[in-house]
Amino acid sequence: MSAPAVDLRQITKQFPGVLANDEVDLTVERGSVHALLGENGAGKTTLMNVLYGLYRPTGGTVVIDGEPRTFDSPRDAIDAGIGMIHQHFMLVEPMTVTQNIVLGNEPQKWGGLAVDRERAREAVAELADRYGFDVDPTATVEDLSVGEQQRIEILKALYRGADVLILDEPTAVLTPQEVEELFGVFDELTEAGKTIIFISHKLSEVTTAADAVTVLRDGKDVGTVDADSVTDTELAELMVGREVLFDTDKPPVELGDIGLATRDLVVEDDRGVRAVDGVDLQVAEGEVFGIAGVDGNGQSELVDALTGMATPAAGQVFLGNEDVTHAPRRQRIDDGMAYVPEDRQARGLVMSYDLTENGLLGSQRDPQFASSGRIRWDDAETHADDIIEEYDVRPADADAAAHSLSGGNQQKFIVGREFARDPDAVVASHPTRGVDVGSVEFIHDQLLGLREEGTAVLLVSSKLDEVRGLSDRLGVMHDGELVDVVDPEEITEEELGLLMAGERPPDVPKATRRVGGEAQ
């Protein structure tokens, strides 16, 4: 057997403060489809950027066709026959398909005075023909569908002589039909001897399309498995890992009325794709409702619609008894909704503000800190100090700018601020991501404390232990739909994995309905 097409050995990539890849090994056989599986932030993209020459590894070797290589730039990687299709397409939208494909390697005529468009078009047509792509070389890219654009990207790599194609989450933006077609393309390509590496965090497609799967978790590779023999459940376990199980003993809480609910909620993403597709859920006061699911299955969009960051395309959102579907975010804040956002650096904190100012984010008009529009900075500072003390934020300095805090401390501050609102409803999106173990426990206790106070809590997390341990009921999302609502204490990890993969195993322990009434 010949040398593997790609052999990454002990790749380590250190960013300031973050170890993105930790001695990762990856061996990809020629002519195979190899999937790289892992949660967001597991280091998949970093690893591929190393392979594509965008990053230089801190340690380890890149071996291509048995030869160790050092890439200083993508140009070197391209020369070595590696092509990458990024998650965000590197296409120039107002230019034509042909122009995009030949960009940087235009065939010339008249001694370089002009691009030989005829030759370029022919080359593209010939290439498309060879791999069975149906593209119009003269079409403008911005007029094409996402799936078509992706094929242009693939052609672009092939035009540059790529033998190894890296695709970063290629299905994330595709419709199911387009995914189907893409996998068809994979077959064509591997038949022609090309090698494919694709990044994914969707279990089902990995087992469908790949020959082998390497799973990354927290920057480390946790093993490579044969895609034909592995089950989705095993993959889910590998991916999410077994973390310390918290012995959270949740005292029974008297359930109140509906605190937070949606009805037939539909949310579209930027491209008009239905990211949330008809979700109905009710969270009672005094209940933690967990949402489990692999990242990118509509959780973010659901949270946006609930919190007023996005306007739903259809359906309704209720806060208590009130229909807040079209209410501005301001009103939801005033009505007692707290929100721990997923992206703390863009939304949750103003990075150049100090903690006193960040402590006001969202409460800047709260009578607690402002009287007739005037902010009482003393009270704001006391408030920030309280959060700092209670949540053990370090450095314990209300004058420190948010960007000077570590990610975990930033997160603790946000959680502290939101929970301190004494909210009626909480939407917490990955509240413990990037937080140290001790703090995780603390945040969990706070969440449960809110529950006991009769707050409706919606918890979104990709950590299975977390949602299972904290939730009274657990909803599983897949592809924009709420697949099922289960009893977190009864369900097995295996069943949960299947649900997350979009399958419905028989006899899943349903959550017993304990919610009082329907949303109005």
Binding site: R329, S352, D354, L361
Partner: protein
């Protein structure tokens, strides 16, 4: 100044203003200013070679940069006239610098302060002329007229700035381009309006009638008003929820959304506020400097950009940068007058300052290279 020693609310405010990166920005501004002055000095020296004079300072050099800078910065101290001019310029630059700073703080490039000022000035002049005869005599009347005129200036300037704000918010039209265009439109339209309808009888130039003398005031009062306004706006930006919303929207729009700020409305509001301050500056220009609206309004709006940029859009910085440029502008009369160095030199230095302040990277690089960790 140790903020902790100040009374509570003020200490809080001061703390807000002097945030973590203020030191760096201050360092960049000072470095940029010094570099611009240095380059300006070299330009002066070299220009002196091409000029002809009867008494060169040394060899072929006609101009003495040191003398030039002595006049630019120190003339107000020794020459009452230059001092008077400095006060006037400073007051006006405080208004326009503040106007620009407010919009920049809100994340909007309001290059249109000039146009807002021109129309605000026109409105103020017309209102003052119109209201004049109806107002009671004496100081009361003067205050009344001036008050109404300044209000008119602020309203017109604000409304005129609301146009690009609304275009940006609701039509996604780049405010840089629209405000530049609106500058030209403002001066052309004002010229037309005055020459066609409000021309001062018997005058050969395009100008309005004189505003009532009772309504005019000196640079002292104007400066006091400007400083008060700067402090008021400082308070507005750092002491109120509105200011918090405005700053957050300017610095991190996503976080503003998160905090429940209506970003689009904030664009219109902050542009209106900025324009109102610019329009107020125009009114002060009419009432303090000329006593009527005349064609050829000085480029105070553009100077305001310089002031704001040098002050890194911090109102308290404007409080220093405004008078600095005000003094340089007044001093430019002196260098022309006393040294024979063309006063356009100040325009060159002004441009250099903006250019240099715009590239903090340069100073960071230099700071690192020279081992000055403090600049980082």
């Amino acid at each position: 100044m140790n903020p902790d020693r100040l009374p509570g609310p003020i200490a809080g405010l001061m703390g807000r203003l002097v945030d973590a990166s203020a030191g760096e920005r201050l360092a960049v501004s000072v470095a940029a200013l010094l570099t611009a002055i240095l380059i300006g000095g070299v330009v002066t020296l070299v220009a002196g070679v091409f000029a002809t004079c009867s008494d060169p300072i040394l060899g072929p050099f006609c101009y003495n940069p040191l003398a030039v800078y002595r006049y630019l910065f120190l003339a107000p101290l020794s020459d009452p006239f230059v001092l008077q001019e400095t006060l006037k310029n400073s007051a006006l630059l405080l208004f326009t610098g503040l106007a620009v700073a407010v919009s920049f703080r809100a994340g909007l490039f309001n290059i249109g302060t000039q146009g807002q000022l021109v129309l605000g000035a026109l409105a103020a002049a017309l209102v003052a002329v119109r209201v004049g005869p109806a107002a009671p005599d004496g100081a009361v009347g003067g205050v009344l007229i001036a008050g109404v005129a300044m209000l008119a200036g602020a309203v017109v300037g604000g409304l005129y700035a609301a146009i690009p704000g609304a275009l940006k918010a609701y039509a996604d039209a780049n405010e840089v381009i629209t405000t530049i265009m609106l500058n030209f439109i403002a001066s052309d339209v004002a010229f037309f309006l005055v020459s066609a309808y409000f021309q001062k009888p018997g005058s050969g130039s395009v100008e309005t009638r004189d505003v009532p003398a009772a309504a005019t005031f000196g640079p002292g009062l104007a400066l006091a008003m400007a400083v008060l306004l700067v402090l008021a706006v400082t308070y507005l930006l750092w002491g109120t929820a509105f200011g918090y919303d405005l700053r957050t929207a300017g610095i991190q729009p996503d976080a503003a959304d998160y905090a429940g700020v209506d970003a689009k409305r904030m664009m219109v509001t902050s542009m209106t506020l900025s324009g109102a301050i610019g329009g107020l500056g125009g009114a002060v220009w009419v009432l303090m400097s000329v006593g009527r609206w005349v064609n050829g309004v000085p480029a105070l709006g553009f100077d305001g950009i310089t002031v704001s940029v040098l002050a890194s859009n911090n109102p308290l910085g404007v409080l220093f940068a405004g008078p600095l440029f005000g003094s340089m502008q007044a001093g430019s009369l002196s260098i022309d007058f006393q040294l024979g160095v063309p006063r356009q030199l100040v325009g060159v230095i002004r441009g250099l300052v903006i250019l240099l302040v715009a590239m903090p990277e340069l100073f960071r690089t230099l700071g690192v290279r020279w081992g000055m960790g403090g600049v980082r």
